[in-house]
Symmetry: C2
Subunit: 338 residues, 2 copies
């Protein structure tokens, strides 16, 4: 018996005269031969080994492994997030099991199933599956960015709504009068959808008429951008917009190249602000591809780690939003123009 008089898995094993592993197998519904199973079940009853004690018993078998399920590490945002998660976990004595599951729900589910077999102590995930149905109540999991409507799973994200507003406000501050919004989005809903909400909110607040390109991401993105450009070209060649808020740095940079190719000057004719804060060559000291609303990737990672390791699961908020910030990256005017 422990000091607190609550029986542990070890007490059950001692009482039943079996190994702790056998008790664990019985608890987890795995195959145990009948005489041993009977002994364990008798001991559990005799000691009044309860559900909360059961949870404590599971903790004894900690793997000190956390599974990180992300699409890939090729995307610089995911790569930076992975780097920071690994560092934050290591600092807390945990190791990182990396799963790059891009577009493969089977792979995501294989990892979640493994997690459920108590082979990892928790999961940090950015997945494309409906993972809610694959995880047990109370299992330590934190998701980055995505929604899971059918299940409350703690979620960490940048404050995309405020970030969307900030992009418009910065464009206005730097002299734009007609900021448009361009977006090629995933078919999966997520927190980043709120960037558009932020744009629309800012338009209403500042009396602007919303004007946007909003399409599912596809291989024809660049020709869609060219169509969008042509629809906004006056007979004299000038454009009816003078600012662009791009849903991601990636598409903002694509639009920058297209604008320059078509003979427009950035930031003189058109200013561009992206979203993400992707840096060239990945270095934290390096310059951005374009001016951007930067996600706090290091803080997102440490918040995910903090929450997945939280002792008291009931204290973990269902949604944690971290603030974004604007940073100059060459595609906006440096000085405020009145």
């Amino acid at each position: 018996m422990t000091k607190k008089n609550a029986p542990t898995i070890k007490d059950v094993a001692r009482e039943a005269g079996v190994a702790v592993g056998t008790v664990s197998k019985v608890i987890n519904g795995r195959n145990v031969r009948q005489p041993y199973r009977q002994k364990v079940e008798d001991a559990i009853r005799k000691l009044n080994y309860e559900v909360n004690t059961y949870a404590r018993g599971l903790k004894i078998r900690k793997s000190n492994l956390i599974a990180l399920i992300i699409p890939n590490t090729l995307n610089p945002f995911f790569a930076a997030f992975t780097d920071h998660v690994e560092a934050a976990l290591y600092e807390k004595g945990y190791k990182t099991l990396l799963c790059c599951a891009d577009g493969d729900p089977d792979k995501e589910i294989a990892y979640l199933t493994m997690a459920m077999q108590n082979k990892v102590d928790g999961v940090i995930a950015l997945t494309y599956s409906d993972i809610g149905s694959h995880i047990a109540d109370g299992f330590p999991i934190v998701v980055l960015d995505r929604f899971f409507e059918n299940r409350v799973i703690p979620r960490v994200a940048s404050d995309n709504f405020s970030g969307g507003c900030l992009a418009v406000e910065k464009l206005l501050e730097f002299g734009c009068r007609h900021p448009v919004y361009i977006r090629f989005h995933s078919v999966f809903p997520g927190e980043s959808d709120k960037r558009k909400d932020g744009y629309l909110h800012a338009c209403e607040k500042y009396g602007l008429k919303p004007d946007f390109l909003d399409e599912v991401d596809n291989p024809d993105a660049s020709s869609m951008l060219l169509d969008f450009l042509n629809r906004h070209r006056r007979p004299d060649g000038s454009l009816t917009f003078d600012g662009v808020f791009a849903h991601t740095d990636y598409h903002g940079y694509m639009f920058l190249n297209l604008l320059r190719q078509e003979g427009y000057r950035v930031p003189e004719d058109v200013q561009i602000i992206g979203f993400d804060g992707i840096r060239k060559f990945g270095g934290e000291q390096e310059s951005l591809f374009i001016s951007s609303i930067c996600q706090p990737v290091r803080q997102l990672a440490s918040k995910c780690v903090e929450l997945v390791l939280a002792e008291d699961r009931s204290s973990v908020p269902s949604l944690t939003l971290l603030p974004t910030r604007y940073e100059y990256g060459g595609t906006t005017r440096k000085q405020r123009e009145i």
Copy 2:
């Protein structure tokens, strides 16, 4: 009994009337209560369960985990390597334990020690420590790029020497007459040192006078590049070199920006070829930062996986070199100029 008549750990467990886990514990000298230990030992004797069978027994306890020790996933080359290693391991039924050990020998050694405790089945490493002294003979380990002079450890790398030659040959093919070499290198020796050897070899082969900047990487790299530029400026402002082979895309891109800032046109006045093949935003379909000698990062990853999982360790070569290739990235002339 199996078909080959060699008893397995399962046969021992069946004979002893205990779980396979109990046999495994006895074999591995872990704590097992006397009556069970006795049963297992009797069964081992009765079945003549032998050393080579024992080794097979150990295999049953495979973790199916491979530790990947790299500096970080912020650098796009390491990020891509990580992504490809994870995919190649997953395909073979293995999971990836990620260790980003940048500049922390303690962390590298902690992972290697864990590996030696049979918690992982192998290690793929790009480390800065003398890891030779931390691994047992015959343990499955493969290193990327680095030398370990005091111990033969299987090593996989790009063919940096040929890549260095190729850079010079391409510059000559595109019309350069005076290619220089710039390099800011790590204090740790590695396969990439051979890029310079390749440059020097090509100079000799084509009757060129070698001219280079070769410094340890440092925060003053950009002012050193400016000094180098000034030393090569004629009184009329023109430069005494017309081609640059940069040791990495990173420093090549830095030099590109400096040259343009100083009013030189790239590729008209100066052509630049880097090394690595770093792509913008990490995507495999994206454009390069500069024209480059590209490392075959996907093939490097799958070769490392193939070798770390090789059944017969004695068949693993001590050095495997994979070919590089040139790719246009905007800083060279597209057409051959005679």
